[in-house]
């Protein structure tokens, strides 16, 4: 969930009233936000870097507010205030307008070279905007929030904002060889080629995360003005020439990306949020984008869509009984201007360009429920009549767990993910022999594979508990995973029961006795006959020679028991002998 940081006093000023922290927390809760933290710049720096560094920092109170991940319209102070004011019926939702310029329309021409790397671009102009330091900071911060969220860290969309008065259109969005791109980037004093920049930014804590998006591509995306000035090299960096400042009056905004829908949403959000500060409030100047095929469109779309939802559907889905008029009023409070039309049961809802999250009637139903107040909804029990069943394997597991404890063994709970070493090297096996599934992106060795046996987890538990009195008698009943091309995903779980006995003596007879007890519990008699169980001398790299047996039950091999090999004991950092038993309980269902 994105967190938006706003200055409390600025927020209250914009809301036209003050709140206590508790009152504001309550308001957030009701609206689906969360007042996550009350802090200040000073407090943040002091927490992260110590009191000394924080000395000169501002102690203006900051509210950190968690915003639902699909509400891009609430990612800045301007949007939060607008949303809350409409919710509290203090203002009417503004209507956003796209206008044609008095003079020539700004043009962004896309060349076909972009097709392979970053094919989409949209643009718009904010005219006669009036920034203050706070507004400017918010404008920059909103771009950052959008980049981190809907833009998927600039991979899907990247935003560039420019001082239009320093540029001259039409603009060209093209792609060039990195060595052919040369410009002075933001916050640098001289020109670099794109190749040089990519190198420089490898050590830049902020920008290094975006380099991979274009790094290995033969051509890099770049936007020029008609004089060959570089506006930006998306999604990495803007040019210094067209940088915006607090004093910038006219802003050219371009969004490039690999997802056209999202690029349009991002542009809509930026212009709807900040057109508030334009001379003609909530009015945005259109820009024309010319596609490689010669066709062109104007942006921002700022589309208003109408949806029709029946009042009784909303009532039925929420479990309330409100009149259509009241429902329309509730929805209007959620920034969805609504009115009752037709037969008096039909509600027409206008979805503004800020609410790209509304894609289905169920989204409208939710907003009606939020405005009604979740906690005002009458709780009722559904009349759904059903008979409960346990999943047979889990039922057997539960029964066995209790009787394993009754047999004096203690249950442990170990991880399903582990290192290759745990399931292979340490048990004297080659990893290829384990048929383990492998994880492609583990952050550490602990998450390389899914376990193919429960034994390593039990042995690691003993290693962490060497100070406990002996003997240690442990068990676990849980799943392991084996590759299996007969399943839809190519892997399959097996429910295993594993037990270990760790003491000054190997205690094979103890583990063997436990097997006998388990078989007694499972009603499997001793003996070779089909229904019975028997153990037969066997061998395995994890076991001491001559001290390993394979367990056959109901006509199939179900596992092994034996005294562990000293190498295994040592590799798991243990010092005493240990015997173990591991069976698949699936065949006993």
């Amino acid at each position: 969930m994105p967190t938006v940081s706003v200055k409390r006093d600025l927020l209250f000023q914009a809301l036209g009233r003050t709140y206590t922290d508790e009152e504001f927390d309550e308001l957030c809760f009701e609206f689906g936000l969360e007042l996550d933290e009350i802090t200040s710049e000073k407090e943040i720096i002091s927490k992260e870097q110590g009191n000394v560094k924080a000395a000169g920092a501002s102690d203006v109170v900051l509210y950190k507010i968690d915003v639902p991940a699909n509400r891009y319209d609430l990612l800045c102070l301007e949007g939060l205030v607008r949303g809350l004011q409409v919710f509290k019926e203090r203002i009417k939702a503004p209507v956003y307008k796209r206008v044609m310029p008095d003079g020539k329309i700004q043009k962004l021409i896309i060349t076909e070279e972009t097709a392979k790397i970053r094919p989409f671009a949209v643009a718009a102009v904010l005219r006669n905007i009036k920034f203050t330091k706070d507004r400017y900071d918010s404008f920059i911060e909103l771009q950052e929030k959008l980049h981190q969220n809907i833009c998927r860290k600039r991979a899907l969309v990247a935003i560039g904002t420019h001082d239009l008065d320093t540029l001259s259109g039409p603009f060209t969005y093209t792609a060039k060889r990195p060595s052919d791109i040369k410009f002075k980037p933001l916050n640098k004093t001289k020109e670099y080629t794109a190749c040089e920049l990519m190198n420089i930014y490898k050590t830049d804590n902020h920008l290094k995360h975006y380099l991979h998006i274009i790094e290995n591509k033969p051509l890099y995306p770049v936007i020029y003005d008609s004089n060959g000035v570089v506006l930006s090299m998306p999604p990495i960096i803007n040019g210094d020439h067209s940088r915006i400042t607090v004093n910038t009056r006219n802003i050219f905004i371009e969004c490039t990306g690999t997802d056209f829908t999202k690029a349009k949403i991002v542009l809509d959000i930026i212009v709807t949020m900040f057109s508030e500060y334009c001379e003609n409030q909530f009015t945005v100047e259109a820009a024309e984008v010319v596609f490689p095929n010669g066709k062109s469109s104007t942006f921002p779309e700022l589309a208003y869509r109408k949806e029709m939802v029946r009042a009784d559907l909303i009532n039925k889905k929420v479990g309330i009984r409100e009149t259509p008029e009241n429902l329309a009023k509730l929805l209007t409070r959620m920034y969805l201007k609504s009115e009752v039309i037709g037969d008096g049961n039909q509600i027409e809802i206008e979805i503004p360009p800020t609410r790209a999250d509304i894609i289905h009637a169920c989204d409208i139903v939710e907003d009606a429920a939020i405005a009604y107040g979740y906690n005002n909804i009458q709780m009722t029990l559904p009349k759904t009549y059903t008979i409960a069943n346990q999943f047979p394997l889990n039922k057997l597991t539960e029964l066995l767990r209790y009787d394993m404890a009754a047999a004096g063994f203690t249950e442990v709970l170990t991880f399903a993910l582990c290192s290759q070493e745990d399931i292979a090297d340490k048990l004297g096996l080659d990893i290829s022999a384990t048929k383990a599934v492998h994880i492609s992106n583990p952050k550490t060795a602990e998450f390389q594979v899914a376990r193919t046996t429960l034994l390593p987890g039990l042995l690691k538990t003993i290693a962490a508990n060497r100070k406990m009195p002996l003997p240690l008698k442990l068990f676990e009943i849980s799943d392991i995973v084996i590759k299996d091309s007969n399943t839809d995903v190519g892997a399959k779980n097996y429910r295993h029961l594993c037990a270990v006995y760790y003491n000054k003596n190997p205690g094979f007879e103890i583990i063997h006795g436990l097997l006998d007890r388990i078989m007694q519990l499972l009603d499997v008699p001793p003996g070779e006959d089909k229904g019975g169980y028997v153990i037969k001398a066997s061998e395995g790299p994890a076991f001491f020679p001559g001290r390993c047996a394979e367990i056959f039950a109901r006509g199939q091999s179900v596992g092994k028991l034996g005294v562990l090999h000293p190498d295994v004991i040592t590799k798991f950092e243990l010092t005493m002998p240990c015997s173990s038993l591991e069976i698949n309980i699936g065949p006993f269902l």
């Binding site: 809760f29 009701e30 689906g32 969360e34 639902p68 991940a69 969220n149 998927r152 997802d259 829908t261 889905k317 479990g319 289905h360 169920c362 139903v365 939710e366 906690n375 909804i377 709780m379 009722t380 029990l381 559904p382 759904t384 009549y385 059903t386 409960a388 069943n389 346990q390 394997l393 889990n394 209790y402 404890a405 047999a407 004096g408 063994f409 203690t410 249950e411 442990v412 709970l413 991880f415 399903a416 993910l417 599934v437 492998h438 492609s440 583990p442 899914a450 538990t461 962490a464 508990n465 406990m468 240690l472 442990l474 590759k483 091309s485 399943t487 839809d488 995903v489 892997a491 779980n493």
Partner: protein, 477 residues
């Protein structure tokens, strides 16, 4: 500590003696309680290898009242023998004698007497031998004379069986050192269940009590399709990022997907349908095929609902599951790469948000949580969505205890579920309520191989609706 004077005396006597001392004799000699000497022995033993002591027990025997009588007058069988004159005695008359019944059978088995059943006036008893030795009387007289040790174990036990001899049971009247009732008892050797899994059992129980059927969750490996696409989670969603999800290198891709259904899912994502605008992006089959470690058990719920949708006509269901899920997250005190997810699902005609809240209220009441409130939230696959908060008395604030919602039509309709069927669902982690309940701050103290087994040994029964133990008072930092 050795209690000074007696222990010292004991050591001096031991030094002087050859071959040890008898504590009872020593006590008698010193004119003190035997218990005091024993006490001194025990204290000295506790100090280590200072003295050697061995426990000797002596048993004393005494005659029962019947035994006394026999020692005086002879055994019942002897008395029977003696009462038979040379011409014999009618058996009926013999039986009337005080020792008749017992004495007759014993004398018969000793072959001292015989019965003539053909006698004219009924069975008649005759002597077989002229004389006999009354062994029983002799043995009892030995015991009486303080020479019980002259009898063998077998002979003694025979007399005991006949209730003629008894061990001197004098401890009934002896004084004993008082017990220290403040001391702890000796814990029984036992096995133990893991605390988190005890909580799991209780959650299963609650669902079963509420009539919910357990879903199979027997597959840690899942395709992106079932884990994300089927839930209408778009392919560019951040949860599908390498930073959040464990993807598989081998087997990297799912081998089979239900292609008809896949087509409907694809269309819903990329173009919309079923009343939805869709996400309007290029949906890729390759992305859906990518295998991963399931990030939630909702993937299992999706499979269960898909199976349900294939069964016509639709029947309402209540499902639950509790199993492991995996996240490639940054680990900290409350987050591990794997944890257990609890999920409840109800599918029926005309379910409302009020129904969801009603079911949640009943569910949480069974957990002992009665103060609930609901916050609007966003989940990719539920709409409306609500986070469940409960007031925590200890922390004095509202804490999130679960997440819930109504599954989106874009998820349900492509499966083939009827349009007027709603599916409400909620989920929570198993670890979080367990940590809150038992006041555990670090998840590693609860799960995984590094837990302290003593914690497992000591953990109490899990009774979720019982008042929790007050949290331990904070120690000063």
């Amino acid at each position: 500590m050795a209690d000074g004077p007696v222990a010292e005396l004991l050591l001096r006597r031991l030094e002087a003696s050859d071959g040890g001392l008898d504590s009872a004799e020593l006590a008698a000699e010193l004119g003190m309680e035997h218990q005091a000497v024993v006490g001194a022995v025990k204290s000295l033993q506790a100090l280590g290898e200072i003295i050697e002591a061995e426990l000797r027990s002596t048993k004393r025997w005494e005659l029962t009242a019947e035994g006394e009588e026999i020692a005086r007058e002879g055994s019942h069988e002897a008395r029977v023998f003696r009462s038979i004159p040379p011409e014999g005695l009618a058996q009926s008359e013999l039986m009337r004698l005080p020792s008749g019944k017992v004495g007759f059978s014993k004398a018969m088995s000793n072959k001292w007497i015989r019965v003539d059943k053909s006698a004219a006036d009924g069975p008649r008893v005759f002597r077989v031998v002229d004389s006999m030795e009354d062994e029983v009387q002799r043995r009892l007289q030995l015991v009486q004379g303080g020479q019980a040790e002259k009898l063998g174990e077998k002979e003694r036990s025979e007399l005991r069986k006949r209730k003629l001899l008894a061990e001197v049971g004098s401890w009934r009247d002896r004084p004993f050192k008082p017990y220290n009732f403040l001391a702890h008892g000796v814990l029984p050797d036992s096995g133990h269940l893991h605390p988190l899994l005890k909580v799991r059992s209780q959650f299963r129980q609650i669902f079963l009590e509420m009539g919910f059927t357990e879903m199979p969750t027997y597959n840690f490996i899942e395709s992106s399709f079932w884990n994300f696409d089927a839930l209408f989670q778009p392919q560019q969603h951040p949860a599908r990022d390498q930073h959040d999800t464990f993807f598989l290198r081998d087997p990297a891709e799912a081998l089979q997907l239900p292609m008809d259904y896949v087509q409907r899912v694809k269309r819903t994502h990329s173009q919309g349908g079923y009343g939805s605008q869709g996400y309007k992006y290029t949906w890729k089959l390759d992305e859906a095929r990518k295998n991963l470690l399931r990030t939630h058990t909702t993937s299992a719920s999706a499979r269960a609902l898909y199976r349900l949708a294939q069964k016509k006509p639709f029947t309402p269901v209540k499902y639950f599951s509790i199993d492991r899920v995996f996240r490639n997250e940054t680990l900290d005190a409350t987050h591990l790469a794997e944890f257990h997810q609890i999920e409840g699902v109800v599918a029926d005609h005309g379910l409302t948000l009020g129904h969801l809240m009603g079911v949640l209220r009943e569910f949480f009441t069974k957990l002992g949580i009665t103060q609930l409130r609901f916050k609007p939230a966003y989940n990719p696959y539920t709409e409306p969505s609500m986070e469940v908060f409960s007031y925590h008395q200890g922390l004095k604030k509202w804490v999130e205890v679960g997440n819930s919602g109504v599954f989106r039509p874009e998820m349900l309709l492509p499966m083939g579920l009827p349009e007027n069927v709603s599916v409400i669902a909620w989920g929570l982690s198993l670890e979080r309520p367990t940590m809150i309940k038992y006041g555990i701050n670090n998840i590693r103290d609860l799960v995984g191989h590094k837990v302290n087994l003593q914690m497992v040994y000591d953990s109490p029964l899990c009774r979720l609706d019982a008042e929790p133990r007050p949290p331990p008072t904070q120690e000063a930092a």
